[in-house]
C-alpha cells in the first residue's frame, strides 16, 4: 500500500498540439479511493495509463510511495489494473487467470492456489474456477477481473471504467460491492469513470478533468456544494445545475427580474454566470415567470422543466419540488430562489457562493 503522486505529469500524443494530460498535480493518500472523472477526451484514461506505465510521460514525474516510477516498466510497478473490457486471457481458466501474475512472480503452486481460492471466496467465484472466460456472464467476468487484481495484493489498484460494460441494475449493485471491497482491503485505488454518479458515490475524493487539465479535486460534497468553476458546477449533479449567463444592463437580472446578491463581492455590473441547483429553486407565488415544458415525477421528488425568457432567449431551467405537484405543458409558473447561488466571472471561475433574492 502506498501513496501516489503526480508531479506536473504531462502526456502529448504524437501529432497533436494540445497535451492529452497537462501538468497534472495530484496527491493520492494511502488507502484512498480517488476517482478521475470527466467527459470523453478529458484525459482521465490517459492519466491512469500513465500511472500504469502504458503511456510514457512527456514531462513531470509519477511516484508510487517514495519511489519515482516515471521510467519503470509496467510489470515492475507493483500495480494491478482492471480494464473496461476485463481483458481476461481467453485460453486460461478463471483460476489460471487469477493466478497469472503470481505465476509470473514464481510464487509456489500451493501458495498460488491458496491465494486464488481466498480471492474466489471473497468474490463468489469458487464454483467457476475451472471455467473459461467465454463461459461466464458479464458480471462474473467483471469479478474475475477484480479477482485477478486482488490476488496479487498490489500497491495500487487501477480501474478503467470497470463497470461500464454491465447492465444498469448490476452496475449499481457492483458499485457498492466494489467500494466495500476497497474499504476492506485498504488498497490505494485510482478509478476512472465518465459517470458522475459513480464518481460521487464511490470516491473518497473526486478529480474532475477537462481537456487534460485538472479542474478541481475534492470530496464529493465539496464538488457539489462548492464547485471551483462553471465546468465542475455543470458536470457534477443530475439533473445538472441551472447555469445562466448574464450580460448586465446596469443591474444583474434573471429573465427581467433583478437579482440581489447577499455577498458584496459580486459586482452586479460585470458580465457573470449564475448557477443554482434544481433544489435551490422553488415554484412559488412570485418570482420569475416561466412556461412548463415537462414534469418528471419520480415519486419521491418532482423535477419541473421550465422555459424562461432571459434577455430575449428562451432559457431552460429545472426546478425540484416535492410531490404532489401537477402542471401541464404550457402552464405559467413562478420561480423563486431558495438556496445557494454560485456566481462565476466571465472566465468561468467562481466569484462567490451566496444567497440571493429576486426582486
Amino acid at each position: 500500500m502506498a501513496t501516489v503522486t503526480y508531479e506536473e505529469a504531462t502526456r502529448f500524443y504524437p501529432d497533436t498540439e494540445r497535451p492529452a494530460v497537462a501538468a497534472l498535480d495530484l496527491e493520492i493518500e494511502d488507502g484512498e479511493l480517488l476517482v478521475l472523472v470527466g467527459p470523453s477526451g478529458s484525459g482521465k484514461s490517459t492519466a491512469l495509463r500513465m500511472l500504469a506505465g502504458l503511456e510514457p510521460l512527456d514531462g513531470g514525474r509519477i511516484h508510487i510511495g517514495d519511489r519515482d516510477v516515471s521510467s519503470v516498466r509496467p510489470r515492475d510497478r507493483d500495480i494491478a489494473m482492471v480494464f473496461q473490457n476485463y481483458a481476461l486471457y481467453p485460453s486460461l481458466t478463471v483460476a489460471e487467470n487469477m493466478g497469472f501474475a503470481l505465476k509470473q512472480q514464481k510464487v509456489p503452486k500451493e501458495e498460488r492456489r491458496k491465494k486464488v481460492e481466498e480471492a474466489a471466496a471473497i468474490l463468489d467465484l469458487t464454483p467457476y474456477l475451472d471455467r473459461k472466460p467465454k463461459n461466464l456472464s458479464g458480471g462474473q467476468r467483471q469479478r474475475v477481473a477484480m479477482g485477478r487484481a486482488i490476488v496479487r495484493s498490489p500497491q495500487v489498484f487501477l480501474m478503467d471504467e470497470p463497470l461500464s460494460n454491465l447492465d444498469a441494475k448490476l452496475r449499481v449493485q457492483t458499485r457498492t460491492e466494489l467500494a466495500e471491497l476497497q474499504e476492506r482491503l485498504g488498497v490505494t485505488t485510482v478509478y476512472v469513470t465518465h459517470d458522475q454518479v459513480e464518481a460521487m458515490t464511490m470516491g473518497h475524493r473526486v478529480a474532475v478533468l477537462k481537456d487534460g487539465v485538472l479542474q478541481q479535486c475534492d470530496t464529493p460534497q465539496n464538488l457539489y456544494h462548492h464547485p471551483a468553476n462553471e465546468f465542475v458546477a455543470g458536470f457534477i449533479g443530475s439533473p445538472a445545475m441551472n447555469l445562466v449567463s448574464i450580460q448586465p444592463d446596469g443591474v444583474a437580472a434573471l429573465a427581467g427580474t433583478e437579482i440581489d446578491f447577499d455577498d458584496s463581492v459580486v459586482d452586479p455590473t460585470a458580465p457573470l454566470t449564475i448557477g443554482f441547483r434544481p433544489e435551490s429553486a422553488r415554484i412559488g407565488a412570485t418570482g420569475v415567470p416561466g412556461v412548463v415544458r415537462t414534469v418528471e415525477d419520480l415519486g419521491s421528488e418532482v423535477f419541473v422543466h421550465v422555459v424562461v425568457d432571459h434577455q430575449g432567449t428562451p432559457t431552460p431551467l429545472v426546478v425540484k419540488t416535492s410531490p404532489p405537484f401537477e402542471a401541464h405543458l404550457g402552464d405559467v409558473v413562478h420561480i423563486e430562489l431558495a438556496g445557494p447561488v454560485h456566481v462565476f466571472d466571465g472566465d468561468g471561475s467562481i466569484v462567490a457562493t451566496t444567497r440571493a433574492t429576486l426582486r
Binding site: A52, G53, L54, R73, P74, R75, R77, I79, A80, M81, F83, Q84, N85, Y86, A87, L88, Y89, P90, S91, L92, F100, A101, Q104, Q105, K132, P133, K134, N135, G138, R141, R148, R152, N165
Partner: protein
C-alpha cells in the same frame, strides 16, 4: 411498405440464386482438369491418349509404374523425402523468424513500420528468373549446389515476407488490452507471446504454416535450376515422367495425383482449425 420489403426479399433470393449458379459453373470449370487428371491416372496410355472417354477399365497399373524405383533415376520415395524435408524445415524456420517479427510489428510498431512492411513485400517484386544466375553462382561458391540446404534457404527467404504479413494481421486481432494486462501482470515478452498471443493467434499461425508448406512443396523453378543432380523434389520427379519416347499422359497424371495428395490432405486438415473463432471470450 410491406409490399416493397416483400419485393426486395424476393429480388435478393433471385440474385443469390443466379450468383450461386455462376459460382458452381466457375467451380466446375476450375475443378474439371483436376478431375480429368484423376480419371486419366486410372487409364492405360492407349486410352488416355485417344479421344476423351469415360468408357474404360480402371486400373492402378500407372501408379505402380511411377512408384517403381529404377536404378539411376530419381525414385518416388527419394523425391518425397526431399520435398518433405525442405518444406517442413523451411516452414519451421520461417515461423521461428516471422512470429517475433510480426509480433513486434503488430504490438510494438516502430516509427517507420509501414516502410518495414513495404521492404518485406518489395523483396517479392524481382522476377525469380532475374535472380537465378547470381543465386546459382552463390550456391556453387558456397558449395550448396544440388543440396537440400540451398532449397531450405531459398524457400525460407521466399515465404518469410508473406508469413510476416499474414501473421501481423492475425496478431493485430489480439485485443491490445490483453497484451497490456499481461504486461502489468508481470509477463515478459516471451511470457506474453506464449501465454496470451499464441493461443489466440493459433488458427492464424496454422493457416500461415500451411501456406508456406504448400508454396515450398509446389516450388519448381529453383528446384529445377539449382538441384538438377541431387536433392531433387517432387515437382522434378513429376516432370521426370515426361518422356520423349512414347505416350506419357496417364503416367504423368498418376504422378501428379500422388504429388497433390499431401497438399490436399494438409489443406483439408487445417481448414477445420482455421475456421475457429479468433478471440472468443476475451472481449465482451
Amino acid at each position: 411498405m410491406s409490399t416493397t420489403e416483400a419485393h426486395l426479399v424476393g429480388e435478393r433470393r433471385w440474385v443469390d440464386a443466379v450468383f450461386g449458379v455462376i459460382a458452381w459453373i466457375v467451380g466446375a470449370i476450375y475443378f474439371f482438369p483436376i478431375l480429368w487428371m484423376l480419371v486419366n491416372s486410372f487409364k492405360t496410355e492407349l486410352v488416355a491418349n485417344g479421344p476423351p472417354t469415360l468408357d474404360f477399365d480402371p486400373n492402378l497399373d500407372r501408379y505402380s509404374e511411377v512408384t517403381e524405383a529404377t536404378t539411376g533415376l530419381l525414385s518416388f520415395t527419394e523425391a518425397f523425402r526431399n520435398s518433405g524435408y525442405v518444406s517442413i524445415i523451411s516452414t519451421i524456420v520461417v515461423l521461428l523468424m516471422a512470429i517475433p517479427a510480426a509480433y513486434a510489428l503488430a504490438i510494438y510498431p516502430v516509427k517507420k513500420w509501414r516502410d518495414v512492411l513495404f521492404f518485406f513485400i518489395s523483396t517479392k517484386f524481382l522476377p525469380l528468373v532475374a535472380s537465378i544466375l547470381p543465386l546459382w553462382i552463390l550456391a556453387r561458391e558456397f558449395g550448396v549446389l544440388n543440396t537440400r540446404l540451398v532449397l531450405v534457404i531459398l524457400y525460407t527467404a521466399m515465404n518469410l515476407p508473406l508469413a510476416v504479413w499474414m501473421l501481423r494481421s492475425f496478431f493485430q486481432e489480439v485485443p491490445k488490452e490483453l497484451v497490456e494486462a499481461a504486461e502489468i501482470d508481470g509477463a515478459g515478452v516471451f511470457g506474453q507471446l506464449r501465454s496470451v498471443i499464441l493461443p489466440i493467434a493459433l488458427p492464424g499461425i496454422a493457416a500461415t504454416a500451411l501456406l508456406c508448406l504448400i508454396f515450398a512443396w509446389n516450388e519448381y523453378f529453383f528446384a529445377v535450376q539449382l538441384n538438377a543432380a541431387d536433392g531433387q523434389t517432387v515437382p522434378i520427379w513429376v516432370a521426370s515422367n515426361v518422356s520423349t519416347r512414347g505416350n506419357f499422359i496417364a503416367k504423368l497424371s498418376a504422378a501428379s495425383v500422388l504429388a497433390s495428395l499431401p497438399v490436399v490432405v494438409a489443406g483439408w486438415l487445417a481448414q477445420k482449425r482455421m475456421i475457429r473463432g479468433l478471440a472468443m471470450g476475451a472481449i465482451k
